[in-house]
Symmetry: C2
Subunit: 295 residues, 2 copies
């Protein structure tokens, strides 16, 4: 592992990357998984790297659905196992959901290693080794266990691919997906789309379970009934847009109104000059004697 200096501004993010990279060493994360991690990072950054309110709502509805389900299954891929094996086992135990390994880039060896990782984190039974091509898909995701995903009524699919999500929904299963990209086919196809970082989502759900277990089935159904996934998607996109607008304002030197608490601005909006744009200075820089105007 490359040593990352602690004063690097993106230290936390770089460490997380090293951790998922360690998943590759263990043989559970694929290269494609690394790329998927990068996509997630980008959307997490845009969403503000925190659980937004509408995501928390989707997480609550997901807990209700998992508790209502007769045959809930948690589908696990390499990234999910690399990032949150212990929490997935806890979620499985608290909701009675089965764990099943299902991979896009499937090899028997990777399936076995991910099963081992889950068992090392406390899982008793993990499905996936005896998978048959039961789903109408042309890739390896088609392989599921008859007693697991094939027969499930509610499936929790962290870090899913859009194809399988659609097929599962068409098979009359209720699909809960965790996907930081609200525009993805997965997010748009799932019945409940949790637009949140996977680790945060699973951790939040675990914390919610005790309270939900106190509730009657009727109350749980009321929560499910009131839920509108479109609102959750639109809200996540709106959050991204707001963050982008704040970023534009920063670039243009416009003060964020929210920080003024309704009071008059303390000073004139500062025109922040972030970039060299004075051609004379640029010329001098190129002539190797100049002074470069930088923030």
């Amino acid at each position: 592992m490359t040593e990352i200096p602690k004063n690097h501004p993106r230290y936390e993010s770089l460490v997380t990357r090293e951790q998922i990279s360690a998943g590759v060493d263990k043989g559970i994360t694929s290269r494609q998984g690394l790329i998927a991690q990068g996509r997630g990072e980008a959307f997490d950054y845009l969403i503000g790297e925190k659980t937004i309110e509408s995501a928390e709502y989707a997480e609550a509805v997901s807990v209700a659905l998992l508790l209502l389900a007769k045959k809930p299954v948690i589908s696990v891929n390499g990234n999910a196992a690399a990032l949150a094996a212990a929490d997935l086992v806890t979620l499985s135990k608290l909701t009675g959901a089965l764990l099943e390994v299902n991979l896009f880039h499937r090899t028997d060896e990777r399936v076995k290693k991910i099963i081992d990782e889950l068992k090392n984190n406390g899982a008793d039974v993990v499905l996936g080794e005896n998978a048959e091509p039961l789903l109408p898909l042309e890739h390896e995701r088609a392989k599921v266990e008859r007693e697991g995903i094939y027969d499930a009524d509610v499936i929790f699919v962290p870090l899913e691919d859009g194809d399988r999500c659609k097929v599962l929904a068409e098979m009359k299963k209720l699909v809960i997906a965790v996907d930081l990209n609200p525009l993805s086919r997965t997010a748009q196809t799932a019945h409940v789309s949790i637009i949140d970082n996977f680790k945060r989502a699973v951790s939040n759900m675990i914390k919610m379970i005790p309270e939900f277990k106190e509730m009657t089935e009727k109350d749980l159904w009321e929560i499910v009934e009131a839920y509108d996934n479109n609102i959750v998607l639109v809200d996540a996109i709106e959050t991204i847009k707001e963050n982008l607008t704040a970023e534009q304002n920063k670039i243009l030197g416009i003060e964020d109104e929210k920080n003024n608490n309704g009071a008059q601005p303390q000073k004139e909006p500062k025109k922040r000059v972030r970039m060299q744009r004075n051609a004379e200075i640029a010329k001098r820089v190129m002539s190797r004697g100049g002074d470069l105007m930088m923030e």
Copy 2:
């Protein structure tokens, strides 16, 4: 390489991923490079997977700067070499810029392999092997060649890390960065930020060079003089926001006005129901007999 079915909706994107994954096999792309590729994918998706007008403008200004420069250098990392080695060599030859390998996750072996990759694609000289820690950075990016990046006046830094970009700017060098994320420190620190896919950017720049070579130095300076990088950043963010709004409208079933050409809408806005939200149906689904309302 895993066989990807041609009817997979993300076929092109998956193939690109396999290509950069092949860079890992060659020993030129790091795992971190795969994650960086994922981040780029996400932003490319948001920007519309095409070169927007303001990015083309930034590319033109970059060509002007490279042609005006006395000591231009193209900094090359693993991803850049994996994605566009041949085009980088062409850009170098057409502008007279030196090629120098500079890596965050530096090993002598990787440097050597990237140099070989560039030479296999026609490069005569590639700097990077004799790099010394000349930049005030705590990581391996500090290592540059005295006759290359250290002495350059204009540096083209594809797929940069923010740290080094800042340091280079502080060393009075003009920095051109290619970064799909307009919010990144790199994009916000560089003098010219090309918010575009790296392959598209280099390819566009190569096409522009002949016309720019016909121009006088005065005309080239005029182009540089008129340039405002903040506008380019704000415009890229605006494009993303517009694409996100279009996505919200799709989710909510609101017709895109642009498609109406000013005419009256042919039909009432269709409320597209993408998700299962009828609790009664959900109940029946869970009772294993129901019909699932899906688009």
